[in-house]
């Protein structure tokens, strides 16, 4: 393995996704190739239906490619089964979703602890408390998601994403469901934590302004990689 590929925490080669529909086979992603270096922040942008969410699902191993491969920190996802991919996610990946995806029956603290508990980490509570403090929710530990505002729920989700110190963070339209003030807060928080932890950030968005905060922008259109814009972010860390 070359030094370069070791630096590349995500390596995407010839990634293609086809689905069967009533009208025959439909290609959602076609021959995507790019790599992401460790600690880098990358935005995947594109219009609705361009395939960016599908790309995210393939990168995170939530779905399997029809062709090509994703290599996540040395693990070729195409060679792994569902269980092994879950293990990779548990060890190396954090997520932030547009719709927060908190477990309704768990409190803010318990939601943050969840990934660590699933991974069998005995230090879950200490880590979670520290992260919730960082996102400014120390006073909301015992609140359930339905008792939190949208912005607060997303902050819990961000705290959850960073527990267990993942190498890679995937964020799917993290501020799309929030008003501009809360959205801005969330974005700042996400980038700050990302920088502090040295995490690789892959952000899916259709918001050009948000994308510009990343070091690189990958444009997807019609399932194809249209262009990659390098070094756009003013705040390269």
């Amino acid at each position: 393995m070359s030094v370069l590929s070791q630096l590349n925490v995500i390596q995407v080669s010839g990634l293609t996704k086809r689905v069967n529909t009533l009208d025959g086979s439909l290609t959602i992603l076609s021959d995507i190739n790019f790599s992401v270096k460790s600690g880098e922040s990358v935005a995947i942008v594109g219009a609705s239906g361009s395939g960016k969410s599908t790309l995210l699902s393939l990168l995170a191993g939530l779905d399997t490619a029809s062709q090509g491969d994703v290599c996540l920190d040395g693990d070729a996802l195409s060679t792994l089964d569902e269980e092994a991919r879950a293990r990779v996610r548990a060890e190396k990946v954090g997520f932030v979703f547009q719709s927060f995806m908190l477990v309704q029956s768990l409190t803010a603290l318990e939601n943050v602890m969840l990934p660590a508990e699933l991974a069998g980490d005995h230090d879950a509570k200490t880590q979670a408390l520290a992260l919730l403090d960082k996102v400014g929710l120390s006073h909301r530990l015992e609140h359930y998601p339905s008792q939190l505002s949208g912005g607060e729920q997303q902050r819990v989700a961000i705290a959850r994403a960073f527990i267990g110190s993942p190498k890679i963070l995937f964020a799917d339209e993290p501020s799309a469901n929030l008003d501009s003030k809360n959205g801005h807060l969330i974005e700042t928080l996400l980038f700050d934590l990302n920088r502090q932890n040295g995490t690789t950030l892959v952000l899916v968005t259709h918001d050009e302004q948000l994308a510009k905060k990343c070091q690189r922008i990958i444009h997807i259109e019609g399932g194809k990689l249209e262009k990659i814009i390098e070094g756009v972010a003013a705040n390269v860390g």
């Binding site: 969410s53 995210l56 699902s57 995170a60 939530l62 779905d63 569902e82 269980e83 879950a86 293990r87 990779v88 996610r89 548990a90 060890e91 990946v93 997520f95 979703f97 719709s99 927060f100 995806m101 477990v103 309704q104 029956s105 768990l106 318990e110 969840l114 990934p115 508990e117 699933l118 991974a119 069998g120 980490d121 005995h122 998601p145 339905s146 949208g150 729920q153 959850r160 799917d172």
Partner: protein, 837 residues
Amino acid sequence: MWVKLAFKLFSREFRRGELTIIFAAIALAVLTIFSLSSITERISLNIAQKSSDFIAADRRLSSNHAFDGQILIKANQFGLKTAKMLYFDSMLFANDELVLGSVKATTNTYPLRGKITIKDSLISQAYEVGSGPKVGFVWLSEGLFYTLNVNVGDTVELGAGIFKISKVLVKEPDAPFFSLSGNKRVLLNYADIPTTQAVQAGSRVFHRLLFAGSEKQLSDYYAWLKPELKSNQTWEGIKDRQSPLGNNLERAERFLLLAGLFGIMLAAVAMAVSAKRYCERQYDPVAMMKTLGGSRKIIRNIFLLHLSLVTGFSIIAGLAIGFVLQYIGAEYLSTFMGTQLPQAGVRPWLLSGFIGLICALMFSLKPLLDLFDIPPLRVLRRNLGDTLAVSRIHIALSFMTIFVLMWIFSGEIITTLILFASTLLVIVILFVISRLVFSAGRRLGLRPGSSWSLAIATLQKRKNANAVQLISFALAIKLMLFLVVLKTDIIADWQMQVPPDAPNMFIINIAEQEVEPIKQFFSRHNIPHEDFYPVFSGRVDAVNGEPFARRVSKQEGEEKEEGAREGVRREPNLTWLASLPEGNEITEGQWFADGASDGDDIEVSVFEGWQEVLDLELGDTITLLVNEQPIDAKVTSFRKVDWGSLKPNFVMILSPNMAGKVPVTYFSAAQLQDKHTKEISKLLQRYPTVSMIDIKAQIEQAQSIIAQVSIAIGFVLSIVLISGALVLISQVQASLAERMQEVVILRTLGAKGRLIKLATLYEFMLLGGIAGLVAAIVSDIALLVIQQQLFDIEGRLHLYIWILGPVSGAFFVSFIGYFMVANTMRQNTQGLLRKLG
């Protein structure tokens, strides 16, 4: 680590009410089965015990010849308790009065079941004892005290012996069935028989052996005894074919069994619905856990632990509530009946626990497997996995489970099959009907913007879901209506059999010239009585000229009619009548035409049970031997006879032109009260050949059992009604979860709460009304079949349920729906949006 997480999730889910319906469904299945089987078992044990009391034993062997000593020795070897009895008539003499008494001599072990009721003097309180008089003593029935003008402590001559009268004999457990002179009964110790010298070779005596023990001991013993039995020996149990109790008991048992099966069905539907709903609500958390790296194994462990916990808790809760319920029920019954119900064994505990476990496992299995299969990608594609929701495997598995549960509970494959198949058929019909109804609604074209339009639009949009809902509503309503009507009919039928003014005394052996004076006596004392029937005994000698003995031996192999064939061999009481007696029904042929004169052929109407035994057809000629005089009678009809009616019943009724051809005595029945005892004694003194058979105890017992079983049925019914209500609630709750999103959208778009609430109210009203109507029609048809086939009650339509069904369905369903939606509407839209998020 996952264990802690699992417990945490479980406690939260429980508190949030996500597991409540699942918990309630399992607990309800368990408590239904427990309380049903336990109360049924306790009542059956009590009834069996009481019925055993009725023959003073579990089984008895009767004959007019002495028994081989080996019969008793063997019975003791099989571990059975035994008692010997001998009946004979003997003269009693005291104070210059001489009277013929009916003597029953019993060994010290008599009665094996039940108690003898006695009094210390004519005016003291009656009480119960467990054995008869000691050697040298006799107990006399009250009538004899008046006839002989004696008191307790006096002596009486019985045959050649002199005995001291120590008690007034009020009631023996088995008196009514064979005492032909109820008023002149004597109870004597078996060891005193030789002292009386009343039993000589050739004396008319009747022997009886009593047996008591476990069912196994009894059946083992009977297996040995059967080949040894002689033709003049009869083996009897408590469930005799023509026992009035037997029929009622069987009906009660069937009803309880049906109710239990319905209870299981309802609880199972509630369980299936709630398990599916619970698992669907877990799709997102599971997808999230998988995304966050949770392995399939951990997720499986977490939810299996949840299932085990909820199952464990609900089984314990079900058993506890079931125990309390059946305890309250049994206590109430005991107080009401004045008897203590025997304790049920471990069967109800094991059966209900096992059924709860099966219920939980089978109904959750497929939804859980689906849950484990939820792809993590659902976090991005929110509807992924929703298609798993309607699974044919789940449906098939659920049906199979219900079938197996019903089978385990009833132990009767035929009943289970009938009920199951008819329910399946109902479901198919309902599905078709619901599809038609919901499609038809589209053409109604109601005003846009109205609550009705919204209700109908919503109904049409969820066609499939509504069909499922309609089916479960209709099934629940159907089962409830079914049981309510059946209960009312069964109890009404029973009460008709034993009305409060039923005669309690049969008067037999009345000579023709005694009929008028006795009628006058009755009217003087305001004693209600039946008609006076002419009675004579006759034996079937031949059918169409073929000797009867040969005819019967042809069918010797058939077991089931053995008892009836025995009856044919005896000399049954016959009568002639101009009109068909109440409670009889012609099954074939015609009742006698009016005005048959002396010259015409004699006709006969035969009990349908004998039709099979004698292999009779209409037009056959039966030769009867009456006092050795042959009489030919042509069979012109067959009758159904209600042996449970406790009224005078006859196997053969001849046409009225039989009058004057044979000597007869008359027979009647009257309703006597205690205050009449003295007058009756005088009457019997004046007409010494007249005898009375006291069936008061029999009637009291029948009424007591009816009352007992009616209460039990009411109790069981209320449990089934609760199950039904739970099914409705779980269905409404499930559908509400589905429509939450819609409510939120409508609210966000500014729809008034009133519009949404009314739309829901109408929607549920329509659903409930349609379900109720279909349920009413289907249950009425099913009732028609089941009442005739299983309960032997005349089937008829019950038009009131055609109204009751839709009205109660619409009211109940819309009430729950409205209440739940109104509850939702109290939260603000933002709150609802967050809940959905």
